[in-house]
């Protein structure tokens, strides 16, 4: 048996199963660990019939265990439900109520997968962890830094959600799928005889079925015995004219068009939300454009924190095509001003702003 084991985070899906299989084939001493993060039987009123594509359903644990048995590797389930609720679910709910649009996957990466899980792996004797993320990590001896790069399969790239990883986390993590096309991963799954080879990819946020965030938040409050807050408010124009009412700021995100339920001569979009006044400002599409933004809580990955302006391509949401911009350091150490070359549509508070130089991930922060 090789000296130190390597822990693979197994979700029961194809990607992490292939990671376990390929590392084992490479002669690594692989152990499989599944994180139990959320009890899918909670909030039954928002459950849908389809249980696939969500993490932590019993089916997923059975799948992960079946893969581990197929490979003949030690396998354990570790329970991080409490940490997940404290560090991911509650901040997610709070952010929505504060009128922002959060990314729970990034919080989960920062505080659960590459923190709690990494600690657990180390605790049981593993040197490193491997996950099924599509991203690349490499050591740059010249800069003395761990760098992150977009995955070879650009359609699967997950670096947008990984901007919070620190150097010591990258040093202990492996993303073996970063250099592979998804089709090759599926092919390898079949070659390895992995029982979940044909399982569909997961979608959406794992603990929110059907992507109904507002419904989740309402159900979570009912479960917690928190009285429905006074969240209803007014829809107003930029000029302050009241043109309608709404059921709570957490139903809206910047750039949203659906669900406004106001009649107007031209399409209206959410321009901004304000939790204090409970006002949702709506306007025309062009009012969504802005040529600058601020990011706070910035984490630098492939380069050290710059002291001079830096040119970069900045991605402001997962499906956004990164836009050329200049990053300006501010008087606050982890805060950056972003000046886009061309105004961008719907720069949304709470989302990440991730800085790229071609395929290299320079770093990223949270849009204010």
């Amino acid at each position: 048996m090789p000296e130190r084991p390597l822990a693979v985070a197994m979700s029961g899906g194809v990607d992490s199963s292939v990671v376990a299989g390929m590392l084992q084939a490479r002669g690594e001493n692989v152990i499989g660990l599944t994180m139990q993060l959320w009890n899918q039987r909670r909030l039954p009123e928002i459950q849908s019939d389809k249980s696939t594509g969500r993490c932590c359903s019993l089916d997923d644990v059975y799948d992960a265990r079946a893969v581990a048995q197929h490979l003949g590797i030690p396998y354990y389930v570790v329970n991080f439900e409490r940490d997940f609720e404290d560090q991911v679910v509650r901040p997610f709910v709070d952010e929505y109520l504060a009128g922002r649009t959060p990314i729970p996957c990034t919080l989960c990466n920062n505080f659960i997968k590459f923190d709690r899980f990494l600690d657990m792996a180390e605790g049981v004797g593993a040197d490193r962890i491997a996950t099924g993320h599509y991203a690349q990590i490499r050591w740059n001896p010249d800069s003395g830094r761990w760098e992150m790069l977009r995955s070879v399969d650009r359609t699967k790239d997950q670096t947008y959600f990984l901007f919070g990883l620190k150097q010591d986390q990258l040093a202990r993590s492996m993303f073996p799928l970063g250099r592979m096309e998804k089709s090759a991963v599926r092919e390898l799954a079949r070659e390895l005889g992995i029982p979940t080879a044909t399982k569909p990819d997961s979608q959406e946020i794992c603990f929110v079925p059907n992507g109904d965030y507002a419904g989740f938040i309402d159900a979570y409050f009912r479960e917690q015995g928190i009285a429905p807050r006074e969240v209803a408010g007014e829809l107003v124009t930029a000029a302050g004219q009241v043109i309608g009412e709404h059921a709570g700021v957490h139903h809206f995100t910047v750039g949203q068009r659906r669900g406004l339920r106001v009649a107007a001569g031209e399409p209206l979009y959410v321009i901004s939300t304000d939790s204090a006044s409970r006002r949702v400002t709506v306007g025309r599409d062009q009012e969504l454009l802005s040529d600058r933004a601020h990011a706070s809580g910035v984490n630098w990955i492939s380069i050290a924190a710059p002291t001079e302006p830096v040119r970069a391509e900045v991605k402001i949401r997962n499906k956004h095509a990164a836009a050329p911009a200049t990053l300006l350091p501010t008087s606050v150490a982890d805060r950056v001003e972003i000046r886009f070359d061309q105004a961008q549509r719907a720069v949304t508070p709470g989302q990440g702003a991730v800085f790229y130089s071609d395929n290299l991930v320079l770093g990223g922060g949270w849009i204010e």
Binding site: L33, Q36, P74, V77, V78, N79, M120, G123, G125
Partner: protein, 356 residues
């Protein structure tokens, strides 16, 4: 077991020769199990295991009419979840893991139908004052059930001395396979069946008997009758050695349930500053199978409800490990386990920010 599954293939309820052979073996086993509990063989009802025995006891006495159940906060889920279906009172246990009979007394209500208190706790091994509780139950005219799954075979059991109406045991805890158990039902106890069908087990449990399992359970009972005392003494010495070595060699450790009478094969130890999940996995990777709280449906451990009931906080409960010894364990294994524990606990504490 093997001949029963191959040559003696008869149904014990059949009248023909093959059935009679099976019946003979079943009844011989029934006598062996009865001897283990100092009971009469007619009082032995074979079940599919401890959970079914516990459920049969509780629902068999409350029947369709409902009624109130008294049990304790640190019972096995087979009792807790069954009582949870009915009007029930949970009596707390003290920090040593012992239930106070007076608390049972004060929980009594006119509509109380059954009191259920485990004989020995499954996680900490503490032995409960069943005979005292039996006197309270008898005075109140309420039936007493005891889950003896962790006690039978490990300490001498006499259902008459204990004064219980009902007593559960499980095959795989005493050397028989999984899938067989027993409910002792004292003669004259008005127990209603909970499965309906044929007139098996004196109309207390419908369903074709698991002859192979029952025969194995009888054999296990017989083995205990012949070797139990010596074996339990041997395991007790091993357990004490394990416990003392851990306390001596690893600082900031304590025994949960210390100070109470315990079954000889179990110890539950708290290692301050460590996460029991990580320790459990680290030990398993080194070839030592231990456990922490009860496993939930996904297999992810939850903090033990037993330790929480004994007054430990969540962090303390999550840093506790249960060690159970068996017939195959040796002194060498115990010493190797302690060495592995020293390494793993030292490693985990180095990583724990909270442990200074």
């Amino acid at each position: 077991m093997l001949p029963v599954m191959t040559e003696v293939y008869g149904n014990a309820s059949s009248i023909h020769y093959f059935g009679q052979t099976a019946r003979k073996m079943l009844d011989a086993s029934r006598m062996q199990v009865a001897a283990l509990l100092r009971a009469d063989s007619q009082e032995i009802v074979f079940t599919s295991g401890g959970t079914e025995a516990d459920n049969l006891a509780i629902f068999g006495l409350t029947g369709g009419t409902g009624g109130h159940v008294i049990t304790t906060t640190f019972e096995h889920p087979a009792v807790l979840a069954a009582a949870g279906q009915l009007d029930h009172t949970l009596v707390p246990v003290d920090g040593r893991g012992i239930v106070d009979p007076d608390r049972i007394q004060s929980a009594l209500r006119p509509e109380t139908k059954v009191i259920s208190v485990m004989h020995a706790n499954n996680e900490v091994g503490t032995i409960q004052p069943i005979a005292e509780i039996a006197r309270i139950a008898a005075e109140a005219g309420v039936a007493l059930h005891s889950d003896g799954v962790q006690a039978a075979g490990k300490i001498p059991v006499s259902v008459a001395d204990l004064g219980v109406e009902l007593y559960s045991i499980s095959g795989h805890k005493i050397g028989a396979p999984k899938g067989i158990g027993v409910l002792y039902v004292r003669k004259g106890t008005a127990l209603q069946p909970r499965t309906f069908g044929g007139r098996h087990e004196r109309e207390r449990r419908a369903g074709t008997e698991n002859v192979a399992g029952a025969v194995a359970l009888g054999r296990a009972a017989q083995w205990i009758a012949e070797n139990g005392d010596a074996e339990n003494r041997r395991q007790g010495v091993l357990r004490d050695r394990l416990e003392q070595s851990i306390l001596d060699r690893i600082p900031d450790t304590r025994v949960n349930g210390a100070g109470a009478a315990r079954v000889p094969n179990t110890t539950n130890i708290r290692f301050d500053g460590i996460d029991s999940d990580a320790l459990l996995i680290a030990l398993d990777l080194k070839g030592f199978a231990v456990s922490s709280g009860a496993a939930c449906s996904s297999g992810a451990p939850e903090p033990s409800h037993v330790l929480l009931a004994m007054g430990l906080n969540r962090l303390e409960a999550r840093s506790s490990i249960r060690f159970s010894l068996g017939r195959s364990n040796t002194v060498e294994q115990v010493d190797a386990l302690v060495d592995a524990l020293v390494d793993s606990v030292t490693h985990l504490r180095k990583l724990a920010p909270s442990y200074a």
